[in-house]
């Protein structure tokens, strides 16, 4: 398949997945707020700041807003088109991705994404954010889920599908680490480390991942150890990091045709190594290293995998350099791609 198409499919799904995860995160935390008895503005700041930080968005937020109150944060992350990583921006970007490769998508799939986009642009959507936020986030989640469902039931399981899956797994794994990482930014209290962040926060993280039910049937008590174990190491839960990387590794090998357990390019090497590492690690290793440091390490590897996929399948550096006698123009095509890549990546800078 065309390199450009592979790249676009990958970003299309990452953008949808990102919007989906953001809507979960905001929705859950907004409801979590309701459990706190009284919050002055200082405590509100303490509540929202970690969320912005874990997403790596403090700088972008501060340039646009003075006050990290609930309504500002919600606007910033939901329908503020000045924020290229808001839900509305992600959906618009995904829809733009889809538009450029419409010939590759089923009509139903396009229609689904198009209508989700039209929703984010509607007055209904801005009205809901004000008056009934859970309904807004539900519509986004429903739209994203339908999109993925339609993709799963209308797309051939060919290379295009693998690139879609690669984008989805990578984005999903990344967001799970960011949900977990929120705890690292919570203000430390005098209480002991395990209770702060407390049960409420760990519950919120599970719910952000839609993992409550699955977690309960697996473990009984909500604890830091239990949640970290489940969301990083569960071999069965579809948003656990292990699950995502397992799928990612499988898709990468399907694309290249290389047997699993071996590698033919850097993305496969890093993904395989990471998978083996996760397979043979335990929660103890995580806490020994420190949760924040561990998650940070994972995010760096996810980024490296993404960059290597781009190098291998989109830029084809060795094949481009041996190609044509028009070096300038080739350089500019490559530069163009890199520019697009940076545009898509720009707000994924690491905290």
């Amino acid at each position: 398949m065309l390199s450009r198409v592979a790249n676009t499919l990958y970003w299309m799904v990452r953008n949808v997945e990102r919007a989906d995860n953001l809507s979960r995160l905001i929705d859950v935390n907004q409801q979590l707020l309701l459990d706190f008895e009284s919050l002055d503005s200082e405590r509100l700041r303490g509540f929202w700041a970690p969320i912005i930080q874990s997403l790596g968005e403090e700088e972008a937020f501060e340039t646009l807003y003075d006050e990290p109150g609930s309504s500002q944060v919600i606007r910033f992350l939901s329908d503020d088109t000045r924020n290229p990583n808001s839900i509305a921006s992600c959906i618009a970007q995904a829809r733009e991705n889809a538009r450029t490769i419409r010939d590759q998508l089923s009509d139903e799939l396009w229609e689904e994404l198009n209508s989700l986009y039209l929703f984010t642009r509607s007055t209904e959507a801005s009205f809901l954010i004000e008056s009934n936020p859970p309904k807004y986030y539900e519509s986004i989640r429903r739209g994203a889920a339908t999109f993925l469902g339609v993709a799963a039931s209308t797309m051939a399981r060919n290379e295009a599908w693998e690139f879609i899956d690669i984008g989805r797994q990578l984005e999903r794994a990344d967001k799970t680490t960011r949900f977990l990482d929120i705890t690292s930014y919570l203000p430390k209290t005098a209480e002991d480390e395990i209770t702060s962040p407390g049960i409420l926060h760990w519950t919120a993280i599970l719910r952000s991942c839609g993992a409550m039910g699955a977690f309960r049937s697996d473990q009984r008590e909500i604890s830091a150890r239990g949640v970290v174990d489940f969301l990083i190491f569960s071999p069965e839960f579809p948003r656990s990091i292990r699950f995502c990387i397992e799928r990612l590794d499988a898709s990468l090998h399907k694309v290249s045709g290389t047997p699993r357990g071996t590698f033919s390019n850097e993305s496969e090497r890093i993904a395989g190594k990471l998978l083996a590492d996760i397979n043979f690690s335990s929660t103890d290793d995580v806490f020994k290293e420190g949760l924040h440091g561990y998650l940070d390490g994972l995010q760096t590897k996810f980024n490296a995998i993404g960059a290597e996929i781009f190098e291998t399948y989109v830029l084809l550096p060795e094949r481009v350099t041996e190609a044509p006698p028009e070096p300038e123009r080739v350089k500019s095509a490559v530069a163009g791609w890199q520019f697009e890549q940076q545009q898509q990546q720009r707000n994924k800078a690491q905290p």
């Binding site: 398949m1 065309l2 396009w110 642009r121 084809l316 481009v320 500019s332 095509a333 163009g336």
Partner: protein
Amino acid sequence: MAIFEGYDPGGFHDEMFAGSGEVRPYCAPLLNKMDNLSEREFLDRKAASELYFVRQGITFNVYHDNRGMERIFPFDPVPRVIPANEWELLEAGLTQRIIALNLFLHDIYHDQQILKDGVIPRHYIENAKHYRPEFRGVDVPADIYIHICGSDMIKGKDGTYYVLEDNGRCPSGASYLLENRNALKRAFPDIFHTLGVRPVDSYPRDLLNMLHHISPRREADPVCVLLTPGCYNSAYFEHCYLAREMGIEIVEGKDLVVKDNFVYMRTTHGLVRVDVIYRRIDDDFIDPTVFRKDSVLGVPGLMNAYRAGHVALANAVGTGVADDKVTYYFVPRMIEYYLGQKPILPNVPTYLASEEADLKFILGHLPELVVKAANESGGYGMLMGPSATKEEIEVFREKIIADPRNYIAQPVVSLSRCPTWCDGAIEGRHIDLRPYIIYGDEVKIVPGGLTRVALTKGSLVVNSSQGGGSKDTWVLR
């Protein structure tokens, strides 16, 4: 109330009614069905077809609209019907025309016999804006230059078809022809069953067969691609649509590289050789090393690969000279010169401003004439004499005197009309017809074409850029 009640053909040639209230026999079943619908029912079905367009995103791009909304190409649900005998005539005439045009292009890019014999004055061709002297002597696959032609047809007051112009570069609109049919099938499935309407769905297959036919590589399955300027082009929907219907890749300039005079596309598994390019980019932008240096849409080195015969282009480079409205003037002569036949389809009478006698006539009759720039399309660069103001006429007079080579003039042809839904009632509106002619191992014309309709009352301008819409076109068995 029946929606056709009180319909008035208004003294024009009407596609559905022979005289006032007298339906043409082949339209009678259609009229019966439609007239039995209540207005409410009719509007419901119209809405159903429009919804189809919106949901499918069959839209024009509207630039700089930050709400990102796209516009649908206005679609009128009353079809235009062409009986079998009329279609036979069109088919024969258009086939004759595309064959002659291709012989002409081959000739002027090789021996130039027609110029040597003085049938067409040499200066007209060599001064044509889109003539490409650098391609003289270059052989193109199967000697075909115009592979896809969209010749615009109009019907005059007496019901005669005239050729208005030939679009031999990258004619667009075929996707609307196909989607109009899909939409109408949804809106009026019951009408369709009974009338014997010929299907149009062979178009993508014919197009692909033609691309295969011109492949320079015979030993392998040819790799065909559609080259688009990108998703911001107003016809991007069509590019995607046709590529998908043909099952070929749609590529942008940056997806292609030229290496040792072969063209390759960049894929996730390395470079793949490309044999045939259905290009939807004009000559000017296709190769920045040869044509416009500032173009970022094209493929550097493509022309070298093309000259070397390693890749085929549809349409070929240099066909724009056939779109020139001055060249158009000479097409009937080409038919006689190359084929020894009388032209089956007449041109609209045309005056060349660069011929002294014609110029005199044009300048003396500007308020009665339509003046057109030789190389504009989309309804731009036109003067509609009868509806123009004095100032507009004087502006054109100056332009014509300054550059007579660039202007032709024609008497106003009163285009035929077709009943059309106009915000509350069925009224007559002027139409034209763009059939799509494909020239591969044989000439194929999909039965029908894109009927464009001037939605503005009284207007003769059907271009979508000027407020036109379209209709489904039914060719009967």
